[in-house]
Structure formats: structure tokens, C-alpha cells
């Protein structure tokens, strides 16, 4: 046995400890076979034989399961071993004594990278401190979620104030409208933007299939944002592209193929989303580690197998006005001004200034404002960004909405809010509350992962999307791991979750007597937290 030195990595430094019960283990090997991180291994231990044994024959060898102690192969707490063990012989336990992050930096001289989620959200979610408190009880009749009809569509695109519509009338009818910015009417919940590469091809196609099914079979007009990792031309040339919001971020990956496919596209996409920033890691660009840059990813993105680090800003943009000119104008022009073009920024202390500026855009080419808060997910990021940068979504959304109200321009640039939505289980509740606070709609990506079977959570569990070793086959390009993912099951689960969410959204609308989306109906919300009440201008209750 090797000598133990104090400043080497020890079991007690690791964030997760695999507790092993030898008496239950039947040495079937499945735990080792299932662990994508090679965090556990079989090992031989010497044991004293029981009973009367000779001096020579007093030890025997047994096979046990042991944890690897290394920076490369350490346990992430994903729990696949527990899942696969027939006898419950293994359990993963969070190690409260862990010094891992200190050890890693000290050993490697580099920043820690992670995937998944921010893990320092110790304050609790504002959205959970808000309740839907104005329930219709005689003053206004509540509706019936099953029986009544509800309008669950919202415009995506630049909306002009009524006095700028330039309508002409003839007799008692309005007969003419001059060309106006494009509006698409969409479901208020958007499948968030995760790129091909960040997620496996099966995961990405499952989301696309679910989107197609929700629209064509269920009549729920959910749109999916593609993320920026290229888009398969088969999808671009299919009718389903009309349900897709194409993203362009600072890497501009895959856009040459989109441009190339233009003549063959039979439908316009639902929109274009210019990604400036991401709530999970504001100030950082996209990051795709080389081990996930599979061959098809290289092809579709036009890159070699290497760590792909997108710049934090769009190169060549120096001001809001310039980005309106360059990005908005060019993207509008690409589809001949038929497709709404929106922007996604990370929620920040400066978001209101950005929103104000866009509202005053004289060309009316800004078709949506996606505001992404700090509890959002990511495929890969520096821990320093994930844990220590960002801004919560709730008050920032409210600030932007009230800034518009202040100018009498609410609704002119629809706001879509995201950032960890569905984190406590109900996307519908989060969506409803944010809509009441002024959002036209919401989006989430990380929740889709959980629906698909992601085992990670907000307290360090797994969070290894960056490694390409996703044990659920979601954030991986490895064939063996990706094929753990059942594309039809994932698509079905996504559909089911949205159908349930759609009903739950109606339940909240019904209880508050709204048959249309309650955009800006902050009177429906209450909170027991005085600070939240004051900050969001909603009713304080106790």
C-alpha cells in the first residue's frame, strides 16, 4: 500500500462519498459498469479469515467496490450506482467536509469548470415568496379551467401603439393597414435555448419532436429556441421550422448553413433570437469543451475538435444603438422583415437601460426582450461565473415592465423572462407570477433537462454537463451514453409536462377570473415578505 501524504487528494476532500455496504454487495459489477465518471472501481482487499486458521493462511482476498480519488475521476453524486445496484449496497452522500474546490485550484492552477446550475443560491427564490392571492370570490366570478375557453397566446414581435398603426377607415370599418413589424402569436412558454453540442442529438431532436407534436397534435403553440450550435438543414427545410426560434450568439455557429438553406426553406422560422448574454453566466460567452465537439458537431458548426469558447460579446458591437443597427437590421433583412427578431440578455443592474433604449428604437425592428436571470442552467461555465455573477429575474423583469408603464409603452416590446423557472417543480406557477408582473411569456431550458431525466440539482449533484460524461445521455456526445436516452420517451415526457402545465396555467387563470393572459395583472399577487412587496409593488399580506 502506498504511503499517505498530507497534501495529496484524500477521500475526505471529495464532494461526494460513496457509502458501500460490503454485506449487501454480490459483486455483480453493475455499479462500476454504469458509472460514466469511473468514480468507482473494483478493488481487492485482504481480510482476516474467520475461525481457526494457520499463520500462513490467515488472510484472504475479497473484491470490494472502492471510490477513485482523483481530480479526473471523482464521484459527482449522480447516483447511477445506487440506481443499478440490485441490493442497495451503495449510497452517495454529500461530503460536508469537502475541500475539493480549494484543492482543485491549488493543484491545477486553473479555474473550476462546471455544467448545470448555480450552486450558491442560498437566499431562496423570490417567486416562491409570492402567492396568487386575488382569487375570485364573489367580487368577480372565477372561471372553470375545463369548461371555459382561455386565450393563451401572446404576440412575439414589435407591437406599435394604437395611434401609430395608421389605420384608415371607410364607413364603419377599418379597411387598410400599412406594413407593420411582424408579429407571431405564440404560447407564453418557450422551450429554452440549448445548442446542438451542449446537448446530445437525441435530446435536441426529442425537444424538436415534442415541439412539433404540441403544435400539430395538441394545438399548443409552443416555440422552441434552437440555441446557437447550428441547425440541421433537414429541419430548416421542413415545415417544422415554423415552430423554431433560431438563435445567433457571439460564435455565429452554423449560420452559413442557415443562409445556404434559405432558398429551400418552405416556412419562415418563428423568430430570431440574438443572444447577448446568459443568466447562468453573465459576462461569459458560450463554452463547449472539446470532448463534446463530436464529428457532426464540428460539421454543423464549422469548427475543429477543440474547446469552443465564444467571446462574451458580439465582436464589432460597441453600443446598444450599433447592435440594433447591425444585428437587428441584418437579421430582419435576412428574412425580408417577415420574421420577428428578439434579443436575449442576462438580467443585470443595467437591463432597464437596455430595454428603454430598445423601446426607443426608431425603426421598430426589436421584436422581443428575453431577460435571463441567475438561476438559469448552462452546459459549461466557470464556477466563478456560475456561483458569483448574475442577477435574479423577478425584480428585473418588474423594473423593465414598470419602465415601459412609465412611458405608456407596456407591451410594445414583449418581455420574456427566464432563469431557473420550474426550479421548485411548477413551471405554470412561475409563468403565471412572472406574467402578472409584466412578462408576455417565459422560457426555461434547464427544466427541460430535468423532464428528460437529468439527475442534477442546485446543490452540486452531478452538474457535470461540461465533461461530456452525462450519465443520462442528455449533455453528452458519447454514443454509449447518448443511447441511454430514449428519444420517444423524452419527447413524450416533454409533451406530457407541457400538457400538464397548460392545464395548471388555466387553473390559475380560472381562479383569478382571467380568460386571457394576465400580463401586468400584479393585483393578483401577494407576498408575506414586506421587502418583496415594496420592491415589486405588489400587496403585502400577513
Amino acid at each position: 500500500m502506498a504511503a499517505v501524504k498530507v497534501n495529496e487528494l484524500h477521500l475526505d476532500d471529495l464532494p461526494w462519498i460513496v457509502e458501500y455496504d460490503e454485506t449487501k454487495c454480490i459483486q455483480c459489477g453493475k455499479c462500476v459498469a454504469a458509472c460514466s465518471f469511473q468514480a468507482i472501481k473494483p478493488a481487492i482487499e485482504q481480510r482476516k479469515k474467520s475461525g481457526s486458521v494457520t499463520e500462513k493462511n490467515k488472510l484472504e482476498k475479497v473484491i470490494v467496490i472502492k471510490q477513485n480519488i482523483s481530480f479526473e475521476h471523482h464521484c459527482r453524486g449522480c447516483g447511477m450506482c445506487t440506481m443499478v445496484c440490485p441490493n442497495g449496497a451503495l449510497k452517495v452522500k454529500r461530503n460536508m467536509e469537502s475541500q475539493y474546490s480549494v484543492r482543485y485550484r491549488a493543484e491545477k492552477g486553473e479555474s473550476i469548470k462546471k455544467g448545470g446550475r448555480s450552486n450558491l443560491n442560498t437566499e431562496g427564490r423570490t417567486l416562491d415568496k409570492i402567492k396568487v392571492g386575488r382569487i375570485s370570490q364573489m367580487t368577480d366570478p372565477s372561471l372553470d379551467a375545463v369548461r371555459h375557453t382561455f386565450e393563451l397566446k401572446t404576440p412575439f414581435g414589435r407591437v406599435l401603439s394604437a395611434d401609430k398603426l395608421n389605420f384608415k377607415t371607410e364607413g364603419d370599418k377599418i379597411i387598410e393597414d400599412t406594413p407593420l413589424p411582424p408579429n407571431n402569436w405564440i404560447y407564453p412558454i418557450i422551450m429554452g435555448d440549448m445548442s446542438i453540442g451542449a446537448v446530445s442529438w437525441r435530446m435536441w431532436e426529442a425537444m424538436a419532436i415534442a415541439t412539433g407534436y404540441l403544435n400539430e397534435v395538441m394545438g399548443i403553440p409552443v416555440r422552441m429556441c434552437t440555441g446557437e450550435g447550428g441547425i440541421p438543414s433537414r429541419l430548416l427545410k421542413s415545415k417544422y421550422v415554423k415552430y423554431m426560434i433560431l438563435q445567433i450568439a457571439s460564435g455565429h455557429f452554423g449560420w452559413n448553413r442557415i443562409i445556404d438553406a434559405m432558398p429551400d426553406m418552405i416556412e419562415d422560422p418563428a423568430g430570431i433570437l440574438i443572444k447577448i448574454g446568459q443568466g447562468a453566466k453573465p459576462g461569459d460567452g458560450g463554452m463547449l469543451m472539446a470532448n463534446k465537439v463530436a464529428k457532426y458537431v464540428q460539421e454543423i458548426r464549422g469548427v475543429p475538435k477543440a474547446d469552443l469558447l465564444s467571446p462574451p460579446t458580439h465582436q464589432g458591437l460597441y453600443s446598444i444603438e450599433e447592435s440594433v443597427q447591425k444585428m437587428f437590421l441584418s437579421m430582419n433583412a435576412a428574412f425580408n422583415f417577415r420574421v420577428p427578431v428578439a434579443i436575449k440578455v442576462a438580467s443585470s443592474a443595467t437591463s432597464v437601460s437596455v430595454y428603454n433604449n430598445l423601446l426607443r428604437d426608431p425603426y421598430n425592428i426589436v421584436g422581443g426582450f428575453f431577460l435571463d436571470g441567475l438561476a438559469a442552467g448552462t452546459g459549461a461555465a466557470h464556477e466563478i461565473s456560475l456561483n458569483h455573477t448574475g442577477h435574479p429575474i423577478t425584480s428585473k423583469l418588474r423594473d423593465c415592465y414598470l419602465a415601459a408603464v412609465h412611458q405608456g409603452r407596456q407591451g410594445e416590446i414583449p418581455i420574456f423572462a427566464g432563469g431557473g423557472l420550474g426550479q421548485t417543480g411548477s413551471f405554470a406557477a412561475d409563468a403565471f407570477k412572472l406574467i402578472c408582473l409584466g412578462a408576455n411569456g417565459v422560457f426555461s431550458g434547464r427544466l427541460l433537462l430535468e423532464i428528460a431525466g437529468c439527475v442534477g440539482n442546485d446543490t452540486e449533484k452531478c452538474n457535470a454537463c461540461n465533461t461530456g460524461l452525462c450519465p443520462a445521455g442528455i449533455a453528452s456526445q458519447d454514443v454509449c451514453l447518448t443511447k441511454r436516452l430514449d428519444i420517444d420517451k423524452v419527447a413524450q415526457n416533454l409533451v406530457n409536462y407541457f400538457v400538464a402545465t397548460d392545464f395548471e396555467l388555466r387553473k390559475l387563470m380560472a381562479a383569478t377570473g382571467c380568460s386571457s393572459l394576465p400580463i401586468g395583472r400584479s393585483d393578483a399577487l401577494i407576498t408575506v415578505d414586506k421587502n418583496v412587496a415594496d420592491r415589486l409593488e405588489i400587496q403585502y399580506v400577513c
Binding site: T149, L160, G408, C514
Partner: protein
């Protein structure tokens, strides 16, 4: 639930008809007030249709204050009518000391002013009066516009009628249009301004219903036009929306229903006018009413209108004979006023329907 009524007649009618119309429709809380608006005035007012008529109730101090303001601006009194009050004991009414109904001549400065300039002066003066009266709590201004007379009071409608001698036609003024309601807003503090009908620049609205989107309506309307003030009742939003659509945006009346009760995207998408309706739906999203409501109204052109919500959650019926059309919540009221009409001609507006009564009493029905 409120009971509301509107009468339009070829002949001049008196407030007693409105009292009778509402009497049989009385519900539990319909004993809390009485308010009516008369338009297309007759009698002593008939020859002054182009001059502004002020309706207010005030203390002595408030009256003086208002007179000073009007005098300073240059208005001069042409005609005043003060109701002869019957202050008998036991009447359920909380009267104000003075009720002022007077016709005024425009200031000399406005002798050659355009219609728009005169209207601007009237709304500015109204707001000034309202602010002054509100500041020291000395009275209420209900309307200041040509050919309109408004009274709102707290108490039992029957007793308010008795107090102002409205049951006898001899002493009361007359008009060709009367809209009325027999209650106060009993959900909140009793405020005279919160009683229907609401009036702004020749538009009158009264609503039986709720405006679930009051909060967002209010936030949006506050910045749209200086005359959109008060918001003592969620129903005022309907008046302001009607005014905004028809007067400010100059859109035809039918679009009022498309704004307060917008069709669903899916229904609009099947129509020829989908481009226009979708634009309206998006641009005026914050003026959607979204609640159970039946809206009755009068336009400056003196048409009566009625709009029902998307689920038809509030009652309304239109009854008529050759000289009179009545729009009201319940048929019992019509039965009292027009007992001999042909009931087969009665109209029960359905969900998403707008009914318009023109000046010749012809009826237009628009399905949304």
C-alpha cells in the same frame, strides 16, 4: 350585480321613466343611490344645445369656488335650473347643499374658436373644477358638456326621486335619452363619483359587470389622455376605452367590442380582417376588460350602444315600440314601461354582440 337602463325616445321623456324602469329590477343593494344622465335635452334646455351645460353638486363654499373659476376663465351664465327640493322627513338621502345645472356661454376669447378648441376648454375647465372641489372636499362636478345633464346622489332611488320631485314630470327636465342606475358601488367606500353612468365629452357609459383587468387598464389609460382621471370604479375604464377608440383614434364604434373583448387568436385567424384585428389585439392588449360585463353607452352622435362580454355573463334585453327603445338588464323593467309592445321584437343580445340604436331608432346588430 348592477342593474342598468337606457332609454332613447323620439319624444322628450322625464326622469320618472328611468325611475320606473329601474324600480322593478331592484336587487339587494340597489337601494344605495340613484344616478342618471340626460342627453339631447328638451324643455328649457332645448334652445341651448350648443352651449356647455354644467352639472355639479357642492357646498356653498364649493359653489362659490366653482363660480369664481368659471368667471375667471370668462364663462357667463345663460340659464340655471335648480331642482325644487322636497326635504320631507324620513327620506333616505344624503343630499348636498347645492345642485347646480346651468348653461354657460363660452368666453369671448372663444367666440371664433373651432369645435376642438372649445372642447379643449371644456375638458380643461372640468378638470380644474374637479381638482379645486376635491382639494377642500366641497363638491362634485359630474359633467360639463353641451346638451348633457347629470345627477348622482346617495340614498334610496325612490326617495331621491321624491327629494328632487322627479316622480312628477311637470317640474323635472326632459330629454330624448336617459341612462340610469339605481345603486352605488357598495364594494368600497361610497363615493359619488363611483356611481354609473360615467360621462366624458359626450360619451356616456354604464356597466353591469366587473373589469378583471382594471389594474392594467388603469395603468395604461392614465397616460393616454388628460381626461382619464378618477378611476373610482373599475367601470370607468370602459368609458375611457370607448372615448379613446372612437374620439382619439377615430376608429368606428364597432372596434370598441374588439378592444374590450378581443377575439381569440384562433377565431381572428380565420377572418378576412385578421390583420387589422390582430394588430388591435396586440396594440391595445392593456385595454382588454376581461370579466363578466354588459356595457350600455351613448355616443356624442346620440346613438345608444350595448356590448356583451365573450361569455355573456350579464343579462340585458332590448325592448321597443315605434317611439321608444329601452336597453336594460331585465325584461321586468321593459314590461313596466312598454307593456303593450310586441315581445317578438325584443332582442336578447348574445355573447360578443354589439347592438346600436340609431337616431331613427333603427337597430343594428353586430356579431363580433
Amino acid at each position: 350585480m348592477c342593474r342598468i337602463g337606457a332609454i332613447k325616445s323620439k319624444k322628450y321623456i322625464h326622469p320618472s321613466m328611468a325611475l320606473k324602469l329601474m324600480r322593478s329590477q331592484q336587487e339587494g343593494h340597489d337601494d344605495s343611490g340613484f344616478a342618471f344622465v340626460m342627453q339631447d335635452l328638451g324643455g328649457i334646455f332645448e334652445s341651448y344645445k350648443d352651449l356647455p351645460c354644467l352639472s355639479m353638486a357642492a357646498t356653498v363654499e364649493g359653489t362659490r369656488l366653482a363660480e369664481d373659476i368659471l368667471h375667471d376663465i370668462g364663462f357667463t351664465r345663460v340659464l340655471q335650473w335648480s331642482p325644487d327640493v322636497n326635504n320631507q322627513k324620513g327620506l333616505k338621502i344624503s343630499p348636498m347643499p347645492n345642485y347646480i345645472f346651468e348653461v354657460l356661454q363660452y368666453p369671448k376669447s372663444h367666440k371664433y374658436a373651432t369645435k376642438e378648441e372649445k372642447e379643449e376648454l371644456l375638458i380643461d375647465t372640468s378638470l380644474k373644477l374637479r381638482k379645486a372641489l376635491e382639494e377642500n372636499n366641497t363638491g362634485y362636478i359630474y359633467s360639463f358638456w353641451p346638451d348633457i345633464l347629470t345627477l348622482k346622489e346617495i340614498g334610496s332611488p325612490k326617495d331621491i326621486g321624491t327629494y328632487f320631485n322627479l316622480w312628477t314630470d311637470k317640474e323635472s327636465p326632459c330629454a330624448k335619452i336617459i341612462t340610469a342606475q339605481c345603486r352605488q358601488n357598495t364594494n368600497y367606500d361610497i363615493v359619488r363619483y363611483a356611481a354609473h353612468p360615467f360621462v366624458l365629452e359626450g360619451y356616456t357609459v354604464l356597466v353591469n359587470g366587473e373589469n378583471t383587468f382594471y389594474e392594467k387598464n388603469k395603468l395604461y389609460q392614465q397616460g393616454l389622455y388628460k381626461g382619464y382621471v378618477g378611476f373610482e370604479s373599475d367601470s370607468q375604464c370602459f368609458l375611457y376605452t370607448l372615448h379613446y377608440i372612437n374620439k382619439i383614434l377615430k376608429w368606428p364604434l364597432r372596434y370598441f367590442m374588439h378592444v374590450i373583448n378581443p377575439l381569440s387568436y384562433d377565431s381572428i385567424n380565420t377572418r378576412d380582417d385578421r390583420e387589422i384585428l390582430l394588430r388591435i389585439k396586440a396594440s391595445l392588449e392593456h385595454l382588454e376588460a376581461n370579466g363578466p360585463n354588459t356595457v350600455l353607452g351613448v355616443t356624442p352622435e346620440k346613438q345608444l350602444i350595448c356590448v356583451c362580454d365573450s361569455k355573456k355573463l350579464r343579462p340585458v334585453v332590448v325592448g321597443r315600440d315605434a317611439n321608444t327603445v329601452i336597453m336594460t338588464s331585465e325584461v321586468a323593467g321593459v314590461n313596466d314601461i312598454l307593456p303593450n309592445r310586441d315581445i317578438r321584437q325584443d332582442i336578447y343580445p348574445k355573447e360578443r354582440e354589439m347592438v346600436v340604436i340609431n337616431n331613427d331608432l333603427s337597430v343594428e346588430r353586430w356579431q363580433q
